[in-house]
Amino acid sequence: MAGAPKSNQISAVAKTLDPAAMAKDLLFTAILSLVILGPIVGLKTVPATGSLALEQRWGTVLVLVGIVVVGRLIFHLIAARRPASRAKAAKPAGPGVDVGKYLAPILLIIALALPFIASLAPSQERRLVDLAILMMTYVMLGWGLNVVVGLAGLLDLGYVAFYAVGAYSYALLSTRYLPQWFGDGILPWAFFVTLPIAGMLAALWGLILGFPVLRLRGDYLAIVTLAFGEIIRIILTNWINFTGGPAGIDAIPRPWFFGHPFDDSANGFAALFGIESKPIQRIIYLYYIILALALVTNFVTMKLRRLPIGRAWEALREDEIACRSLGINTTNTKLTAFAIGAMFAGFAGSFFATRQGFISPESFNFMESATILAIVVLGGLGSQIGVVAAAIVIVGFFEVFREMNFLKEILPEGTDPVQFRMLAVGGAMVMIMRWRPRGLITRRDPTVYLKEKKAVPTELVAQGHG
């Protein structure tokens, strides 16, 4: 792969605008996109009596082919305008703007004040806080996965398995085992008792899985973690006696405010503070729990980065062989990254279970793993603030897709813009890798420095991280 000859030299010659060659290329593009789009988009299989029939939609095909050809034409025109010698080194990629320094405190203040901001719009309050909880959950999962993918450079495609372990740990313990062992008196504290247990169980699973497979090369590891994620999901679906099977587990207890429930009882949260009881109070409380969990994740990660273990992670990501020659125990280093990442997923899973009150295996499929990975990739592998930005973009994006009325007008009848969301996420992953492999936030601060703090220029880092 490394020795692949670049086709840049050839395309540099073709970049002078040659109408004949361009027309040929456009014709080729048109034919190719017709072959690709024609049958799959143009002929929709619809159920007919006892069999299938085809519904023809050639209009849509023509529009799409037109878009592709025009896009290609624009690409050519832009390419022709650029000087042919535009090599990558021509514009030295600077360290990038230090967005984190100013943005992080602002974001933190917004995050802390969000429920109060939301209360200014009472009709939308519930929706806004719910959306914020969802975003924060993804931020936390993204930060957890960032330890594994961004810092240690291990591609984990089964991250959602640990999320599931955390969620099922809380659900099973709080609905079945804790009341059985300690009586119902434990319930007000169930969430806080179970949270560390869930994290530890997830970390334990991380160790169990990681131990045998972490010797593997990066891409093999990715597929094995993917397989592991699927195995967990299949077991959750089929082990009906224990997990409830496809029906899942419901009536999972909500968290209490240090022994005070969120209702209008005499012992309730509202009565404690002498205010009127409202359902939104519980939602806001949930929001602060996930915010605290996410901040803990971030804090621990940032501290770990400065410890020898964190530096070993990043060294491992850059060059495994060099690490081994320097006497770093690569297996243990990978294993800690894996287990710590898994632990954060376990915490997030517990939170998910208590927020939803109901979980089933379907919440933990591969698309969930892929979404979390997309957040990390989009934000920039290894960048903490990037994960926040990407989580806001992706989760917010899903919400915006739902609201886009003008899209509904241009799209043909019966098409719902929401169904394009995963398509957009997948496309974004490809495009980010192609044009901006360091993600939305490109700046990385070095973990350790001598006397003077300097950002790491892109060229000096092997894998596009920093």
Partner: protein, 311 residues
């Protein structure tokens, strides 16, 4: 005994399909060292192209045999062309610009591409499974256990024969293509040393593109056969089939063509016997666990060469 024989037949049939998909993984891995994660979805697209072609041409099980055979041949060619166009474009758009990028970039891009393909087909064709009346029906009864011992009929269906024979023929053609032609020589040289191959005048980009096209063509055949065998397909079949075919490729030794076929058949047998004798629910667990076990204890596979790590 009869039950065992029947499962053996089913396992080899399923394994042939896995083997055909696995060849696409193994060839691409051999030449550019990346896992084409979207390959399973190219298989799915090939299956959909075949379904659409079958309905458009109007192939049914009721017509004359000669007509059915000719029509299926046409269907398979159409599916091959469409799947090849997909895989060619994927390589061009999502993988080629990433050569020389950081280690995980092509794999992440491939995962993105896999999601794009799945979602594209789901949006364009709908999320529901697509069932169709069987086209190739009937079979040969090989063995029959008497009613007194609990009746059981061992049947080799025409569809199973078709799958195994087609796979064998394709294997022979492809092995000849790789070992005897200049194209195969170019591929093998790129596999060994891409830079040197380029210096000796081999168009590396073109060779890689052709590898993707070949893999996609085989996946399309597998897609058609999978659909004819099970009578139903949906946008998500590529995911499971892809992971299993990748397991088969690793099991047989990644980079080795006969290895992919062997791995496919072993995996098919494991899956079928597991469902027959243990539990149907956990058959995917057996296949996925197999992947982990093979990678840990036999990372070079059965027919693969041990990998030398170069610094």
């Amino acid at each position: 005994m009869e039950y065992f024989l029947q499962q053996l037949i089913n396992g080899v049939t399923l394994g042939s399909i896995y083997g055909l998909i696995a060849i696409g993984y193994t060839m691409v891995y051999g030449i550019i060292g990346m896992i084409n994660f979207a390959h399973g979805d190219v298989f799915m697209v090939g299956g959909f192209a075949a379904v659409i072609a079958i309905i458009a041409i109007g192939v049914t099980g009721n017509g004359a045999i000669a007509f059915t055979i000719l029509a299926l041949l046409l269907v398979v060619i159409i599916a091959m062309i469409i799947a090849s166009a997909y895989n060619w474009t994927i390589e061009r758009v999502a993988y080629r610009p990433l050569r020389g990028s950081f280690r995980l970039a092509p794999l992440i891009s491939a995962i993105g591409m896999s999601i794009v393909l799945q979602e594209f087909v789901r949006v364009a064709q709908g999320g529901r499974p697509k069932p169709l009346q069987p086209i190739v029906e009937g079979g040969v009864v090989l063995m029959r256990r008497a009613v007194s011992e609990g009746e059981f009929v061992v049947q080799l269906s025409y569809m199973q024969m078709l799958i195994v024979i087609t796979t064998l023929v394709l294997m022979v053609i492809f092995t000849a293509l790789i070992t005897r032609t200049s194209l195969g020589r170019a591929q093998r040289s790129c596999e060994q040393d891409m830079k040197m191959a380029a210096l000796l005048g081999i168009d590396v980009d073109r060779t890689i593109s052709i590898t993707f096209v070949m893999g996609a063509a085989l996946a399309a055949v597998a897609g058609l056969m999978f659909f004819l065998y099970y009578g139903v397909t949906d946008f998500f079949v590529g995911f499971n089939a892809g992971v299993k075919a990748f397991t088969a490729a690793v099991l047989g030794g990644i980079g080795s063509l006969p290895g992919a076929m062997l791995g496919g058949i072993i995996l098919g047998l494991i899956e079928v016997f597991w469902s027959a004798y243990f539990s149907v629910e956990y058959k995917d667990v057996a296949a996925f666990a197999m992947l982990a076990v093979v990678l840990i204890f036999l990372p070079q596979g059965i027919l693969g060469k041990p990998e030398v790590e170069k610094v």
